[in-house]
Amino acid sequence: MVRRLPEYLTIWVPLLLSAAHLVSFSLWTIWISFTPSTLVPVSGWVGLRNYTSVLASRNWQIAFDNLLLFGSAFVLLSLVTGLILAILLDQRIRGENVLRSIFLYPLAVSFVVTGTVWSWLLNPGIGIQKLVHDFGWTSFRFDWLIDRDMAIWTIVIAAIWQSSGFAMALFLAGLRSVDADLIKAAQIDGAGPVRMYRRVILPTLWPITITVIVIQLQFAISTFDLVRALTNGGPGIATQLPALVVYDLMFQRNLLGRGAAAAVLMLLILLAVLLPYAAWRYLQRRRVRHA
């Protein structure tokens, strides 16, 4: 016990400290969300008033709709892109290491950089549209960044560029860990490559798929810096996201109580994703134990 003390200390002290931080600040935020705090935290009780006013605000409604659209489109498309990249890389091609690094590289770039670079690329006056026009195709249009109905898709594009490499890396690891005997058996039975992927390899990947979905979803819910740099919620307020609303309420409008309420709503959305995942993990483990 004494001999292992340093090990216990290294693991448990930071773990307890961060858990205590997380829990105490979450509880504190929940408390603030029920107070009339504006510039600074004050005590007092306003019941659900902060929540009703956040839920009734146009900003939050737009942010919530955007989150549904952005969250599902981003998760689905980054999943598909990542899977396709992984399957292509899995063909034992030359230069795999180089390609893998290239696809993973965006992950190392900060979201602010991604957002800023894409804000120039997607700007119709100076970016891709301008380039194509200069090549002579003058009727070409790609102005989603300034189109309030399509602007949310520019965030999807940038987010996919940033993080499909991450999905690819996980899928690639999954593909590589498929039992070689299984593949040989399928080959002997005469399965072609398409059938092999569909029937033999992909079904073994679904635990990884769920992990990727959950990780990407919680990223989507907390997206802040990317939107801030790319559209800053615009045109107008068309690309608001919940994290932007929280920051705006707390620090720009000096409405701490309402900002805290919006933050708690975000936490609830996050729990709606994480709790089913935890339940699923629990059931999985039980099934394995029973089998």
């Binding site: 800053n232 615009g234 045109p235 107008g236 307020i237 620090f251 720009q252 409008r253 000096n254 409405l255």
Partner: protein, 427 residues
């Protein structure tokens, strides 16, 4: 921490509050000032550093901690310090936020210092009111910008074969049409940020009717908010929006300056600070003209934006002496001249003579416009730059305006209703 005896405390308070005693106390205590602001770089940083030098020349200890970035970052630092019970002796803060923040921590009563300097009669009345919530001076304005200056591109004027500076909105619209016909791609140069859009609206409404602006935006009078002038302002804003480059996205106005000077864009409604930005970008005074924003009654309308310092109560005698010294410096015409000449703003004092060296024509015209506007009661507070309302209400108003600018399917009538609703729900 130095021991603070009651006697020293009394001496310090006396030094800070009673000006006649100030000179005597100064020899006993070395004035010290802790200050925070967001001004760290560029002309803003240079100006406050110069102010610090003056403070040191007067025998003070200058301890300025800049918090670079957005104003909100500076406010977060201020909030943290106040909550920890350790506010700076003085900090940057402006507009109605002075009143809001003064409720969360005790501030210094500067009445005697202001009276001794005979300062109040040289300050625009609406501006003075912001710095004395509850009737007492607790903050001092430092410099003034107008947010509705009209910048005209010389080359675009040549293309339009025009040489007259527009006075009313009708003149303005006529000139924009002429520019369009003369081959100027976008008669209006504009960024895509929230204050940018807000400035177009406030310039429109105040230019149409300063009285309606005062009632609707500054006093939030329901009838005025739903009145015909606000509707007319939204109609004007739509015209302006139609003349802007839709491709700006969320970019800063400075992105367009080259196209503006080249004559691809014609006019820019922007704060006086754009002069400094244009000059820093290497453009010459011959490239553009500066005039007060359009006003339908022909008299200057001035949308005020002013930076200020608020003074937080401290017990330390040296800090109190520092606060008194700082207040005197900020009110001093020579210091205001020095500061504005560095940043490109105009002095708060209306009695400073701008005819001499070191001032630009734009600054002279701005100062003249302010004087005229005060005389005709047409100096009003900018909403786009957080002078007319507290941040929360401002943001609610700008939400409506920025959406209207970017979404051309919203009718002016709808915008009027939404603006009134936004006020109602943000209150």
């Amino acid at each position: 921490m130095p021991m603070i005896t009651r006697r020293r405390l009394l001496a310090g308070s006396a030094a800070a509050l009673a000006l006649p005693a100030f000179a005597r106390a100064q020899s006993a205590i070395k004035p010290r000032l802790t200050a925070i602001s967001q001004w760290s770089a560029g002309s803003d940083g240079a100006a406050i550093t110069a102010l610090g030098k003056k403070f040191e020349e007067k025998g003070g200890v200058w301890q300025h901690s800049p918090v670079p970035g957005f104003t909100t970052e500076m406010m977060n630092k201020l909030r943290a310090q106040i909550m920890a019970g350790d506010p700076p002796a003085c900090s940057q803060l402006k507009g109605p936020e002075i009143a809001a923040w003064s409720k969360i921590a005790p501030t210094v009563n500067l009445d005697e210092l202001v009276a001794a300097a005979g300062y109040e009669k040289f300050v625009a009345p609406d501006l003075a009111k912001l710095h004395k919530p509850g009737g007492k001076w607790i903050a001092l304005p430092l410099q003034i910008y107008s947010t509705n200056m009209l910048f005209l591109s010389k080359r675009a004027m040549d293309k339009a074969k025009a040489d007259k500076i527009p006075v009313t909105w009708a003149d303005f619209n006529g000139l924009a049409e002429k520019m369009k016909a003369g081959g100027v791609a976008y008669p209006i140069a504009n960024g895509g940020t929230r204050p940018d859009d807000g400035q177009k609206f406030e310039a429109a409404l105040a230019g149409i009717s300063p009285a309606a602006y005062r009632a609707a935006i500054m006093n939030l009078d329901k009838k005025a908010l739903e009145g015909p002038e606000v509707r007319a302002a939204f109609v004007q804003v739509r015209k302006i929006a139609d003349w802007m480059d839709p491709n700006v996205g969320a970019q800063h106005f400075s992105t367009n300056l080259k196209r503006f000077v080249d004559g691809d864009m014609g006019m820019m409604i922007m704060g006086g600070w754009a002069q400094g930005v244009l000059r820093n970008a290497g453009f010459k005074f011959e490239d553009f003209m500066i005039a007060p924003g359009p006003s339908d009654n022909g008299k200057s309308v001035f949308l005020l934006n002013a930076d200020a310092f608020i003074f937080w109560q401290r017990k330390e005698p040296d800090l109190q002496a520092g606060q008194a010294l700082m207040a005197q410096l900020v009110m001093d015409p020579a210091i205001q001249t020095m500061y504005s000449q560095i940043t490109g703003s105009i002095p708060v004092r209306t009695d400073v003579d701008l005819s001499g060296e070191g001032w630009s024509d734009g600054q002279r015209r701005t100062a003249a416009a302010l004087k005229d506007a005060i005389a005709s009661n047409q100096a009003v507070l900018s909403v786009a730059h957080n002078m007319a309302q507290e941040n929360g209400l401002t943001a609610a108003l700008i939400d409506v305006i920025t959406e209207y600018v970017k979404n051309k399917t919203i009718k002016p009538e709808q915008a009027v209703t939404r603006l009134a609703e936004a006020v109602e729900s943000a209150r």
